[in-house]
């Protein structure tokens, strides 16, 4: 059934609905019990949905009510401080921006490259390609703190031995969101109909020319949407960063490639403030949550807008 309001399909829908209710009334001989059960079931469905929606609303309202007293420009221009009236998120926000900048630089080429390989080149009968596929699906659901362990053992110490620098956090977050980007990009690439490729190949374009000039331009809105969603996940992720040295109390701007100066990120500082018992400090944490949620909400709305605006129906 189409979702648009074509009057013809609407008529068909009405006719079907009428026929259905007629049939039901004539054939099922609905007992009062059945009617009651249907009502109860529908009541349960509304209850379930409203639980989720009310939970979300309560979360947003709670953060706003607790933090609105601290909403001011100082909140983003001041560095962290022991005095809750002065404490702000400047260093944490700059830290998060650096983290995300490097994540984007790394995850975009690698994520799109991997999804092009899997959709356009890989022979799905081959066992190694099937392993890559299942492997990516599993990586998408590996707990984020396990990525933190990976970063600690492999990037900060071990083979890469970068030390507790911000860039090590970026590398870890890149690996964390890579599966999300790959899965979304693959769906976007898959949605481009084969006839587009066949037409291009038939005109003598090579496979890469076909991908670059035909497939990628058509798939780019879906790919960008996936990347934005992955980035917004990276912005809110705190658990792996706890293991990567982001937990220190920092009052000066971070240097991404210096392993000795210390750095922090927005969700990590929020966590550190939220565990403190003092009411005034928790207020700062709530204000930080508002800042983070506003950024994420803007990004998500942009992603949804992008998807609706450029979504192509073939």
């Amino acid at each position: 059934v189409s979702e648009g309001f074509d009057p013809r399909t609407e008529r068909v829908r009405l006719a079907t609905a009428g026929a259905r209710s007629g049939t039901q009334a004539v054939l099922s001989g609905q007992s009062p019990r059945e009617v009651l059960k249907s009502r109860l079931f529908q009541g349960f469905l509304y209850l379930a949905l409203s639980f989720a929606l009310i939970g979300l609303a309560a979360l947003l309202i709670d953060a706003f009510v607790e933090g609105q007293g601290r909403l001011s420009l100082n909140l983003i221009t001041n560095a962290n401080s022991n005095d809750p009236a002065e404490a702000g998120f400047r260093t944490a926000i700059i830290g998060s921006l650096y983290l995300i900048l490097f994540v984007i630089l790394m995850v975009v080429p690698v994520g799109i490259g991997a999804s092009i390989y899997l959709e356009e080149y890989a022979n799905k009968e081959r066992w190694w390609n099937r392993i890559i596929e299942v492997n990516i699906q599993n990586l998408a659901a590996v707990p984020s703190i396990v990525y933190g362990i990976l970063g600690l053992a492999f990037i900060i110490r071990g083979p890469l031995d970068l030390g507790f620098m911000l860039f090590a956090g970026s590398l870890t977050l890149t690996l964390l969101v890579l599966p999300t980007v790959i899965i979304a990009s693959r769906e976007a690439i898959r949605a481009v109909p084969p006839s587009i490729r066949e037409g291009s190949l038939a005109l003598g374009a090579t496979q890469w020319q076909t991908i670059r000039r035909q497939v990628l331009p058509a798939a780019i809105p879906g790919i960008v949407t996936g990347i934005i969603l992955a980035i917004s996940r990276a912005i809110g992720e705190a658990a792996p960063l706890l293991l990567l040295g982001a937990a220190t109390f920092v009052t000066f701007d971070p240097q991404p490639f210096n392993a000795d100066t210390g750095w922090t990120a927005l969700p990590v500082q929020i966590y550190q403030l939220a565990v403190r018992p003092q009411e005034e400090i928790r207020e700062v944490a709530a204000a930080g949550i508002i800042v983070m949620l506003v950024v994420l909400l803007l990004m998500n709305s942009f992603a949804i807008w992008l998807r609706n605006r450029y979504e192509q129906k073939w």
Binding site: A52, L56, I145, Q207, E237
Partner: protein
């Protein structure tokens, strides 16, 4: 364009060559680069396994696996390494969370797939996606600042041993439940919408009511996808760190009682590995032993869920 350029005049006259005029090294290099990007995912998994197993082996060199899995006291400072309290602590939060999230998520999925008007669906679905995108540290803060006090206020007297304390598993379970509702609802809804309309119409033609079609036809037909969503939600809940760290506390406690404070596996890792712990110590190695156990549990759950999703895709798509 000269005829030569399009390959008409070959030495044999009209016989045209259909192969590429060059070896196309560029194309091959691009293929290699793309394959390398895809291979990075396998390298990541290998690196995860290696980085977990090395120190975990060191740990099991000092603590016998029997003690680790069967003893019921966890206090690394006193050299007590029975992991059961951490596992049960995680299960405490996860099981109560699923108890909330499964009916809510499935109810929302059935509503969106079978009952909702397209216009309602168009609004509600993105809202659930927003819920899925809320950082867990924000949900954890919500737990501490609203859910726990609320539970303490409405707790019925001495039920299960009295109102929950500042740290408790019940509030964490509610928050985890809120976090995994969108996972269950979106995957289950996908599975239900993949059920062909003919099945529904057949049931309607036999005089079934809407409720019966939803519960007796669509639900069983989409069952593999529904179970997949629940298993994936389980895996996400087990691996969640910030909520349990903020709301459930850090007291190893072998109990499924939701009013008690507990320590989950992830919370132990998050608390212990914060800051600069020295490599090679037994304390450092416990993080990896618990991490390996966590990775193994989620791996099994993920593989089951991947398999089930593939099953419903094969049947209906």
């Amino acid at each position: 364009v000269e005829a030569r350029d399009i390959g008409v005049s070959s030495p044999v006259g009209l016989a045209r060559r259909l192969e590429a005029p060059s070896r196309r090294w560029g194309e091959k290099a691009i293929f290699a680069a793309l394959a390398l990007c895809a291979a990075l995912s396998v390298i990541t998994t290998t690196a995860i396994v290696i980085s977990l197993i090395g120190p975990a082996l060191g740990f099991f060199g000092e603590v016998s696996p029997g003690d680790f899995f069967l003893k019921s006291e966890w206090a690394p400072a006193q050299e007590l390494f029975g992991v059961l309290p951490l596992v049960v602590g995680t299960l405490n939060v996860v099981l109560w969370g699923l108890l909330v999230a499964v009916p809510v998520g499935l109810g929302a999925a059935i509503y969106l797939s079978e009952y909702a008007h397209p216009r309602v669906r168009k609004v509600v679905k993105p809202v659930l996606e927003v819920l899925a995108g809320i950082p867990t540290v924000a949900i954890g803060f919500f737990g501490v600042s609203l859910v726990t006090p609320l539970l303490q206020d409405i707790w019925p007297g001495e039920f299960l041993g009295g109102p929950p304390g500042f740290f408790n598993a019940g509030a964490a379970a509610l928050c985890i439940g809120l976090m995994i509702v969108p996972i269950i609802s979106s995957i289950s809804e996908d599975a239900m919408r993949a059920v062909p309309g003919g099945l529904r119409e057949g049931a309607y033609a036999m005089g079934a009511t809407k409720r019966r079609v939803a519960t007796r036809v669509v639900f069983p037909a989409a069952l593999s996808g529904i179970v997949a969503s629940i298993v994936l939600a389980f895996s996400r809940a087990v691996g969640e760190t910030m909520i349990v760290l903020l709301v459930a506390g850090n007291t190893p406690n072998l109990t499924l009682n939701p009013v008690e404070p507990i320590q989950a596996m992830t919370a132990f890792i998050g608390v212990t590995a914060t800051g600069d712990i020295a490599t090679g110590t037994i304390e450092y190695d416990t993080v990896f032993a618990v991490g390996l156990l966590l990775f193994a549990i989620t791996l099994v759950a993920n593989l089951i869920s991947i398999r089930l999703v593939r099953k419903y895709r094969e049947v209906y798509e």
